[in-house]
Each structure stands twice: as C-alpha cells, then as structure tokens.
Symmetry: C2
Subunit: 428 residues, 2 copies
Amino acid sequence: MTTPLRIGIAGLGTVGGGVVKIIQKHGKLLAQRGGAGFEITAVSARSRNKNRDFDVSAYAWEDDPVAMSRRDDVDVVIEAMGGEDGPAKAAVETALAAGKHVVTANKAMLAHHGQAMVELAEANSACLRYEAAVAGGIPCVKALGEGLAANGMTRVMGVLNGTCNYILTTMEKTGADYADVLHDAQQLGYAEADPSFDVGGIDAAHKLALMASLAFGTKVDFEGVKTEGIDRVSLEDITHAADMGYRVKLLGVARMHDHGLEQRMQPCLVPVSSSIGVLDGVTNMVVCEGDFVGQTVFTGPGAGEGPTASAIVADLVDIARGVRTPAFGVPAKDLVAANRATSLTPTAYYLRLALKDQPGVLAQVTDALGKSGVSIEQMHQNANGGPGATVLIVTHETTRDALDEALTAFEASENCLAPPVSLRIETV
Amino acid sequence: MTTPLRIGIAGLGTVGGGVVKIIQKHGKLLAQRGGAGFEITAVSARSRNKNRDFDVSAYAWEDDPVAMSRRDDVDVVIEAMGGEDGPAKAAVETALAAGKHVVTANKAMLAHHGQAMVELAEANSACLRYEAAVAGGIPCVKALGEGLAANGMTRVMGVLNGTCNYILTTMEKTGADYADVLHDAQQLGYAEADPSFDVGGIDAAHKLALMASLAFGTKVDFEGVKTEGIDRVSLEDITHAADMGYRVKLLGVARMHDHGLEQRMQPCLVPVSSSIGVLDGVTNMVVCEGDFVGQTVFTGPGAGEGPTASAIVADLVDIARGVRTPAFGVPAKDLVAANRATSLTPTAYYLRLALKDQPGVLAQVTDALGKSGVSIEQMHQNANGGPGATVLIVTHETTRDALDEALTAFEASENCLAPPVSLRIETV
C-alpha cells in the first residue's frame, strides 16, 4: 500500500455530499481497488453550519475553495460547486497550476474552458478528469476515451438531459401540455426553478460538446453546437409522431464529415422501437458508433447524488492507480480546431403544416415539395375544426436545403396559416 | 513519442486478422491516443500459406506461438487462438513469465486458469487484459473494473451469447422449432458446427464467471456457475411466455449474498418491455447494479471481427498509456474464494404442467401449490387436443424450496403426464 491519496472537496451539495458518503462507506474497498487509501483532508462550501446528512467535522474547513486548492495536504481537488466561471474555475485553475489533479462534474465550465484547462493540466503534469460531467453514472467518458479508442468514431449521439426526456415522455403518456408537465417536474425536483438551462438544451449541449471532443480529437467547441430546446415541441407534434410510429427526443448528434464537425442538440423523431425510442423518463443514453466496433449503447442514471458521486470516485480510483489518460483522448496539442459543418447527408423529416381547408391547397403543397425534389413517404390530413386543416407529412430522405426551398415557397402562399413545423427524423 | 509498443499476434483467424487491420488502418490515431507507436513485429498461426484478406508479410513469422512469446522484439502478446489449454495457455504463460503483457479474447482459458494467470502476471509485473473475452465490443470489463469501481456491486447480469439470443428471438418471431432455427443459424454462420458450447450455456457461463470476479473481488469460479442451456426451451414455452408478457432469454446472473456468491446461467423469463426483454438477435447486453450508481446497461455487438478486435486494441492503447489496473479489479492476493450459494430471495416462476384432462385435477394443482405456500398470479388452461391439458401458471414470489416441494408432490401424482417445466422470472 502506497501513501494515501489526499482529497479536498469543493462544494458539499448533492454531488460533493455523495462523494463524502462513498469514501466513508467504501474506504477499504477503494483502497484495495485503487492501491492506495483515500483520505479526505479538507472541504470547502458556502456555508459551514448548514444541516447536512453526512459528517465533515473530521476534515479541515476552508471558506475559500481557492485556498483549499493551495493546501499542501491536498493531492486531488474535487470540484463539485458548478458554474462555468467564478470560484469553480478559480479553484480548478489554482489546483492544476500547482500540479494537483482535478476531478469535476462541471460540464458548463469544461464546455467553455476545457481546452485551456487541459493545456494547463498537461503543462503541470496534472490529471483533469470529468466522468461525472457527461451522463452522470454512465461511464461513457471512459468508454469513448478508452474502451472504444481503437476506432475511428463515426457518430456519437446522446439523450443527455433527464429533465427533457422526462417532460417529453410524460407529455406523450399523459397527454398533458408542456407547461403543465414542466410544472409537475419542478414539484418533483426533476427540473430547476429556472429550467432554461435544461429545457433550452444548453446543459445537454455542454455534454455533447465534451463527447464530440473525445470522439473526434477536436477542441471543445460548445458555441459550434446548433442548439434548440424542447420548449417549442407541442403536444400535437408528440401525438402525431406517435401515431406515425415515432417518438420525439431531445437528441444530441455529433458527426465528423470531410467538410467539418457537425454538432446538433435538437428535438428529433426516432422510431418508437429503436434503442433511443424506448428510453423513458429521466434515464440517459449514449450511443457510440465506430468503424470497427459498430454501435454500442450505454444507458443509466444521468444525474442524482449516487450516480454522479459514483463517477467522481471512479475517477479518483483511476488517479490512485496511476492512470494518466489524456483528458480528451489525445494530448492537448494534438486536438484540432474543426470547421463547423452542417450535415449534407439526406435525411427524412416530419412536417406539420397549417393550411386553409379548401380545394387545391393540398395539391399546392405536394407541388412545392415535388419541385424541390422532396418526395413524400406518409401524408395525413385532419380538419382541425376551424377554418384550416392540419397536414402531416413524413418525407423520404432529402437535404435540408431542398426542404427549406419548398417550405419557403409554401410559407409565402396565402394558404399557409402558420409557419410550418419541421423536425428531423434521425436514423438510429 | 516514446519507443513503439512491439506486438506479437498469436492466431490469425477472425480475431487476430481484425487486430492486424485496425493497427494497419489507424496507426497514426493509435499513436496519438496511446502516446506510443504500435508496431506489429511477429505473428504466429497454424498455417503460414493460408489465403488471408490482410497482409502479414512484413512481420516475422513463428510456427510456434510459444517461440513468439519468447522473442526479444515482442513487448505484448495478443492471444487470439482460443482453447482453454494447449498452445494458447502455453503462449500466455511463457509471455507473462517473461514479464511481457498479454491481451486475450480467450474466455474459456481465463474461466479455468484466470487466478493462476493473474498471479503469474503480477509476480512478473506484467499486464493481463481481456476486454474482448466478455461481450465482444462492449467495453464492460472496463466499466466493471474501472468505471463503476466506486460501488459495492449488488448484481451483474448479462445476455452474453449472441447465438442463443438469436435462436430464442427467431423462434418467437417465426414460430419455428429450436432444431430448425439452430440449423439456419449454422448456415448463416451465427452458430458453430458443434453448437454445444454456445447452446449449452458454457460459453456464456465462462463470461459470467469473469464478470462476477471483477464485480465482487472473488476468484474466478467457473465450476460454481449453475449452467443450463437453451436446448430444453420449447417453442411452446416461448409462445406461452409471450402471451403472458414475457420473453425467454439465456440470462446470466451473479449476485453476492451474505452466505456466498450466486452464479447462474439459465433460461429465464423477463418482461417483454424491460431493457433485457427488448434485446433482439445477436446483440449482447450487460447490466451492472451498484449501491451508489444504481443500474447501468451496456448493449452492443458481442462477437465478430471488428468488435472483438476493437476490444483487443483498446487494451493495447491502455498498455501503451501505462495503465496497470489489476486484471480482476483488485490485486490477485486480495481476491477471495467465495462460497457457492443459491439465492434465498423469493422470485416468481413460470410453470407449465401437463395434466390429465378430468375433473378435480386443477384443484389438486392449486392445492399442492397452496400447501407449500406458493400463490398464483396468473393461471391459464388449454386443452391440448389429446388426453391431457396444459396448465400455465405464473406464481407470485416464492422460494425455490417451496416450489420444489409443490412440484415434487404434484409430480408423484398419476394425474401428472410429464415432468413439470419451471422457469425463473428474473426481476430486471
């Protein structure tokens, strides 16, 4: 047994508390697995006297997380505060600059500062690890960066925000509106009081940007993720999609093309019976595709005390074992700045059009699509009880350009009562 | 860039050939990821002049794999020959004894000699790695040994043999008999000419024994796996199970109890819509449950050239990176020899009884079950066209002892026309 790994924990909320509990419960097991004892030496949080369901009285207390990062009796800093800048960033930078290892669950911080932080880490021979930042308890950072390292990755996908998946699946199951389900999710603790980070797709886009970097050896480019939230997904579209054999998911997709890196986080349709289609509730899913392995799928809890702390402590075990894998799969100097690209690969789309309910209008739609080379796989028309009709279309594979041309032509017509809704159908 | 990792490959069939192809295609990528170049220096196989769809003429040839293991220009031996003893074992032992690292896909060899081999490896500061031996391309050895290392594992389960899952799902879909589907699977290359290792559950039991060791820190105990094959699963049971909302899977389950380690590989019923129930065809699935992470599920290709080679080369990347994780999660000296145990946890069962079709017989069945404390959740009776009737029962949770008592009592009766069929219903 070598000398113990001395751990400082910054942030004692759900995540930091979970880490304390694991280390207190599994001390002997972790020492066996890691080859070194795990010793929490210092902690830091906003309030020292808050009621907590775990005991930190045996550890040194620091009001300032940066001061904790500087302590001589801390070898590894766990950053569990959150926030892309501010004290989290300062504590991490201080630790890395001092050659201390850092384990963090902070996807926002890494999505914005990942490249600078990994450069700082490598310059100081320190490890920067973040399994908990992507898909909580699912060891997908390890899978992408290590387990699938033999592959040229072709596509990574993920349902990465449990709140959004809960809202979308509950809307379908109960027939309740977005606003009502969001409200219930807030009551149940599945959604924050300010839900915009979740439902706007931003939290999931942070995670996708990290996955893309790992998969393709590119510099983290969060701003390059085309991000759309679920707030504009209507119950009507969910219901119509289900009728046609699809489910709506907030799906992240990253793919490397010859002309650059495609990164999207947006509501998409997937077949009901596909691996992604069957995913219910707050569970997360990561799909990795490589040129030799084919498709592998990882499912599990994407958030919560136990799963997130499990991921953090697994990173600690690796550090104790002497694992020094590069944070984004290759050394920081080898990470490339990829062009941003949209896919030129044809795909199918779901369309919902609000039309005047009168003779000849449907012919106008099919004509506009036909002129742009968009062919139709399914079409359904429902009178909607008012002056108009709803037309639902699933297209065959088409380019986004061709579809936009048709929709633009059609939208200019007086027979179009509202902007057309179009959702991509992802092949999974 | 450090000095290259010099690789010797023993066995140039599907698996060894896949490894050659990956290293030839992804040389630059692997060097970036591993921090060292990958150089195949020597190969060995039964026939030098066999037609192969890859070129090994640039590498030294050894007729004898043991001689290859001894070569000074080989740092890592990839064992891709198969067979639990014989040349595979000899080549691996020679390499480990010389302090060379070994990567193997050979579950049979490790299931029988895993403990001795890991002791030999550690005594010589060599790595023994086997990601490819369990569930092919799914990085589940890494997940269990590293990604979930923070957890006290509570249960691991797996659908670990693609041939069996293909046969069972095809029987349900097509209504064809076991023998016919097996024959088709052999034509398609999904099943061996001698299928007994697969359909007898032995191949899957090898893998389960390795997973259990990793999960629970126990010495590999293949003989302790209670193994039943799928050859006794009838189309009748598959159809009846489907009617009642279940699917039949060859499911491996390992669980640690206070009284010892339970290891089972047997046909079980699982709910149709559960994560295991939806698994189709040759795909494998691994389910890991830990006290902090909860349940994580990994799905992917369990066999084939690309996936198996992907797993082997991932192990090489780890070796190049200097990763020296203990093969079964903790050092060999800490692995414990667990008692063998059967579960005392009550579970539900599916029963199929062949009865005389006459008054009072059904009452005799319910009476026998009731006396042993077994209560009934579902019961269906079908006249089977002959002198008898088929009675299908799903019990509530009961112990195996109570069920056996009832079945033994019933089997002794003259009204029982054939031995009762009972299949466990696994909670997933």
